[in-house]
């Protein structure tokens, strides 16, 4: 099982599961990260965190800490 946090730039992955609960999980899902969606990892910020993703045709930035909640393959 792979976490989104560990993905490298320019990888494209599919979301399997989102763990966690509450506000952060809801927010992540509200932004369009749901089961089965394709995520393209664009880049990592200059200081190593957060990461930038391309999802559903737009750019989203996410802290690695939050990206830990997302299981991908």
């Amino acid at each position: 099982m792979k976490l989104l946090k560990d993905c490298k730039p320019s990888e494209t992955v599919v979301v399997k599961k989102i763990t966690g609960a509450g506000a952060t999980k809801r927010r992540i899902m509200d932004m369009g990260i749901t089961k089965g969606v394709e995520i393209h990892i664009r880049k990592v910020a200059p200081l190593g965190d957060p990461i930038e993703l391309n999802i559903r045709g737009y750019e989203l930035s996410l802290r690695k800490q939050d990206a830990q909640m997302i299981e991908v393959e």
Binding site: R26, G48, E59
Partner: protein, 728 residues
């Protein structure tokens, strides 16, 4: 009949542009009751009975963010006659997510697909008829920036409002969920209005705590419903909230497949992506960022020939408020033969005090203009992206950098720049700590003591910056552990909007709104405080007789200074300088550069240069180096000037938080100065061991404890905003 139309949409969807386009200059700006979220409404151009209510830019109607809660409370409680939902055509999937939630409210909805020109330029196609058919509500294309189609879409919204043409409930969820929803609906029947049945049953299904508070269901019903939800959760192997969210997106996926034809491949680079490749590049991002900041800072607040802001402020201070305005009032007052007291009140109190603050207006306007451009272009969120790693450690966010940087020039625009931080917690924390950064007006204080006591060492100025930054970091770490700050988790899940050319209208309007609120304040809070200080400084008892005083050593202010100088004795403000230092600290509240002037006056020099060279020898006699340093620390960190306090008041929009912020700054300043004076003084042999040494040690241990203690962990993650559900 009066018609109310709510304008709803995602951030960066062009909502502000559309709102400005529809209402022109007929806007009223305020705040939503009880919160710091800005509220704007305006009349639709060419009508008298149509009001457009601008809702905050939101992605969802979840119960987790202030903006979302404010929006849904408005929609549910106030029931506008129609919702005009603006949708970014270039990013339609995520934008339609909010649309699916709005449709469930059973208020007439019109969808405006914005940036249709960009969609077409990209070679993409949106089948509006198909979209309207799928969503069950009117869908129209517009370009808010070019003003195309905006009139028509507003007219449509008015039409559906008049006809009360409610959309059909879209067919979003699968069978399992739908059957559970209808069962929940029948349980709720007695509690709610039929037209809102779908909205409430979905919310109850999601276990929305706010709705729970509102509906006040019996325990029996609650457990029945809970059983229903559990069943669905087991069947679909996910939690209820996620099931709803996922199915909404799946539904949108099907609609988009039918109605939108994309030309390029999914991850193809657009122009914006290409710009971003350079601007947020791992190696180039920081140098570019520093360059941008340097340019902004130079133009607004620097000292070069292209520093338009500084040139304007210098002109305002020296010519406008140094010459033209005083001469004008002088002329009027002299010709009217008003008495001396009134003359003094108007000239020294009002014109002098308010003028000192209004002098900053040119710098502030230039600065806000540049910041508004950065925001409108889309660079601001990249700043947050680049800087987040650093600021997050101190409980701040990437966006806190801008306020701090601006504050090195002037704290007022710095605090006001915190507006761009969406998370309430991060914003409050930024407001509370921004004042610690040494601003331009504090430089003369540093110059005075560096020259008088420390032989002009440049280390003094450097240490002032180090202290300021340390104060921000220490405060960040301490404050983020308190319940009021830890209570609300602020996930940093941020959209990086596509870059686009700034719109002159938006930029100018944003600049003016911010600038105007500053000017307005100069007319209220600052006017009043200037008058009070003028009175305290100019009046007093001479030989038992109350009246105006010639020598302000005998003024009421000096009396107050003497009376409370005791408080500052532990900081080493003792002997002859004690009351002078106290009074100077007070006048520093008008403007920090007043500190040096006050020392000049108190040492009987009518006028001193900016850094007070004339009184250096006198200061050196009265202040030991460690006492001078303690005075400096206290004045750098304590309550800022009235203008900045006014800015804190406005940005907090809450008296309790304003007082907490100012109180915290004073306390922090006092504790820091005490620790430095007593402990450093003891170490270098200038201060003897005494009672206050123990206090200082205890405080130092206290601060270290606050820094390292485990923070408060919230039990529930939902917002603690009781009563908001019913608040009107």
């Amino acid at each position: 009949m009066e018609i109310k139309i709510a304008l709803a949409g995602n951030p960066n969807s062009g909502k502000t542009t559309l709102f400005n386009n529809l209402t022109g200059s007929r806007q009223r700006v305020g705040n939503w009751p009880g919160v710091t979220v800005e509220k704007k409404e305006g009349s639709l151009k060419g009508t008298n009975d149509v009001t457009i209510q601008d809702l905050p830019g939101i992605y969802s109607l979840s119960p987790y963010s202030l903006e979302e809660v404010v929006s849904r409370n408005y929609l549910v409680n106030e029931k506008p006659d129609a919702i005009l939902n603006i949708v970014d055509g270039t990013n339609i999937e995520r934008n339609l997510y909010l649309t699916t939630q709005l449709l469930e409210l059973q208020i007439p909805v019109v969808v405006a697909v914005n940036m249709i020109d960009l969609v077409e330029r990209n070679g993409d196609m949106i089948d509006l008829n198909r979209l309207a058919q799928e969503l069950g509500c009117p869908v129209m294309a517009i370009s808010a920036l070019k003003g195309k189609g905006t009139k028509e879409v507003a007219a449509k919204a008015v039409e559906v409002a008049k006809k009360h043409q409610v959309a059909l409930i879209p067919d979003i969820y699968d069978k399992t969920v739908v059957s559970a929803l209808s069962k929940i609906q029948s349980e709720l029947q007695t509690h709610i209005d039929d037209s809102m049945a779908r909205w409430y049953s979905v919310k109850v299904f999601e276990r929305d705590e706010r709705i729970d508070e509102f509906l006040k269901l019996t325990d029996d019903k609650k457990s029945k419903i809970e059983l229903l939800i559990k069943k669905v959760e087991e069947a679909l192997d996910d939690d209820a909230e996620s099931i709803i969210t996922s199915q909404r997106y799946d539904y949108i996926g099907t609609i988009v497949q039918h109605a939108v034809k994309k030309k390029g491949s999914k991850h193809e680079l657009s122009v914006s992506d290409k710009i971003d490749k350079i601007v947020t590049n791992r190696i180039l991002a920081l140098p570019i960022f520093i360059l941008v900041m340097y340019v902004v800072y130079t133009i607004a607040m620097g000292g070069t020939s292209i520093s338009i802001g500084t040139i304007g402020t210098d002109w305002a201070n020296d010519v406008l408020f140094g010459d033209i305005v005083p001469n004008f009032f002088d002329g009027i007052l002299t010709s009217l033969h008003v008495n001396g007291v009134l003359y003094g009140l108007i000239m020294d109190g009002i014109v002098g005090g308010v003028g000192a603050v209004l002098g900053f207006v040119p710098q502030i306007l230039v600065l806000f203009l540049l910041l508004s451009i950065m925001e409108d272009v889309g660079y601001m969120s990249r700043v947050a992206f680049i800087m987040d790693r650093i600021f997050r450690r101190f409980g701040l966010s990437g966006k806190s950098f801008i306020p701090m940087l601006v504050a090195t020039g002037c704290g007022v625009p710095g605090i006001m720049a915190s507006r761009t931080i969406e998370q309430d917690r991060d914003r409050k924390m930024t407001i509370m700590t921004t004042g610690f950064i040494p601003c331009g007006a504090k430089m003369p204080i540093i110059g005075l003591f560096a020259g008088a006591v420390f032989g002009g060492s440049s280390l003094v100025a450097t240490s002032a910056f180090v202290i300021g930054i340390a104060a921000v970091i220490i405060s960040g770490i301490i404050l983020k552990k308190f319940k009021s700050f830890a209570g609300e988790p602020a996930p940093f899940v941020m959209e990086l909007p596509a870059y686009h050319l700034p719109s002159a209208g938006n930029v100018l309007r944003a600049t003016w709104e911010r600038g105007w609120s500053f000017i307005k304040r100069a007319g209220t809070v600052i006017l009043l405080s200037s008058i009070i200080l003028w009175f305290l400084q100019g009046f007093g008892f001479t030989n038992g007789q109350f009246g105006m005083v010639e020598d302000n050593n005998t003024s009421l202010l000096a009396d107050i200074g003497n009376a409370i100088a005791l408080i500052f004795a532990p900081l080493g403000w003792v002997g002859d300088m004690a009351w002078k230092a106290t009074v100077a600290t007070f006048t520093g509240l008008i403007a920090k550069e007043e500190v040096v002037n006050t020392f000049g006056v108190l040492y009987n020099f009518s006028e001193v240069s900016e850094e007070g060279n004339e009184i250096w020898t006198l200061i050196a006699q009265d202040f030991t180096p460690i006492a001078a340093y303690s005075f400096m620390i206290f004045n750098l960190l304590c309550a800022p000037c009235f203008a900045a306090m006014g800015a804190i008041r406005r940005e907090m929009n809450n008296t309790k938080w304003t007082l907490a912020a100012i109180g915290y700054m004073c306390l922090f300043a006092y504790v820091s100065a005490l620790i430095v004076y007593q402990l450093v003084g003891l170490a270098i042999g200038e201060v003897a061991f005494n009672f206050w040494t123990i206090v200082a040690l205890a405080l130092l241990i206290g601060v270290i404890y606050l820094l390292f203690r485990p923070g408060y962990k919230p039990k529930s993650e939902a917002l603690d905003l009781k009563g908001m559900q019913t608040a009107k």
